[in-house]
């Protein structure tokens, strides 16, 4: 009700990113985290040799996939962290600061991902 016009225009976009990020995270992250974070370090799976892994990631479609995997879930997380701090811990007086930090973090992460994947060779 007290939202400024700029916030009103931004909110639907942020919600779409939240929702899209939730879908991407739900479908893709558990399998990735299982293999990369547990199976390979614990030796349940053989480590991919360097050249094969590098050639695989160098493929443009794989990099596009990784960009999606490493960007929209950040906006999903930013949205949930923002509202958890807002409702859960009732930090209402820092609303603007929290919003800027959480979405700003997601933007920074997205830029880092874009840079790393674009310049990957």
């Amino acid at each position: 009700m007290e939202a400024k016009p700029s916030q009103l225009r931004l909110e639907p976009l942020l919600w779409i990113l939240f929702s899209a990020g939730g879908v991407v995270a739900a479908f893709l992250i558990p399998a990735h985290l299982f293999v990369q974070g547990l199976a390979i370090p614990l030796g349940w799976s053989k480590t991919t040799d360097y050249e094969t892994a590098k050639a695989f990631v160098a493929h443009p479609l794989v990099r596009l996939y990784l960009f999606v995997l490493c960007s929209v879930p950040l906006f999903h997380a930013a949205h949930r962290i923002r509202y958890t701090l807002y409702d859960g811990l009732q930090i209402k007086h820092l609303n603007e600061v929290i919003a800027v930090c959480s979405y700003g973090g997601a933007v920074v992460g997205t830029l880092v991902a874009a840079h790393l994947l674009w310049s990957f060779r």
Partner: protein
């Protein structure tokens, strides 16, 4: 002639509403509340995974030695423990997300509403297929 009736003193203020103070720890009072907060906290671990993935790409770009060192770092018991906890949270996110999808979407086929368990069920089935493909790709070496 001026009215003699007393003019009510309108002000911008109004009497304070009665609001019961909500404890900062309201989410510990019931399992449903705690489950909701845990679901929201799963997003922290989603962000953590993205950071992990970006480090993976970064060290892969830096060269064989840097990549091998990073793989060794991932064998650290603390990181394994963190990944283990994160894995439970991201799975929790997936389950709650697919269960919600049935309530968020109304799908109609031939004018009839598709029951919720079919929408969630198809999401869960797709999740199994996609996860199998990812695991196969990543573990084939």
């Amino acid at each position: 002639m001026k009215s003699t009736a007393p003019v009510p003193a309108y002000t911008l203020n109004h009497p304070r509403w009665y609001r019961k103070r909500v404890s900062t720890y309201w989410w510990l009072q019931r399992w449903e509340y705690l489950r909701f907060v845990l679901r929201e906290i799963s997003s922290v671990f989603i962000a953590y995974f993205v950071v992990l993935m970006l480090f993976e790409v970064y060290f892969l770009a830096r060269g064989p030695q840097a990549y091998a060192d990073f793989q060794d770092l991932l064998k650290n018991p603390l990181i394994i423990a963190l990944n283990f906890v994160s894995f439970f949270f991201v799975v929790f996110h997936s389950i709650t997300w697919f269960n919600l999808s049935a309530r968020a979407m109304t799908v109609r086929v031939a004018g009839k509403r598709v029951p919720g368990f079919l929408i969630s069920g198809s999401n869960f089935a797709a999740w199994v297929v996609i996860s199998t493909v990812i695991v196969w790709f990543l573990m084939r070496g």
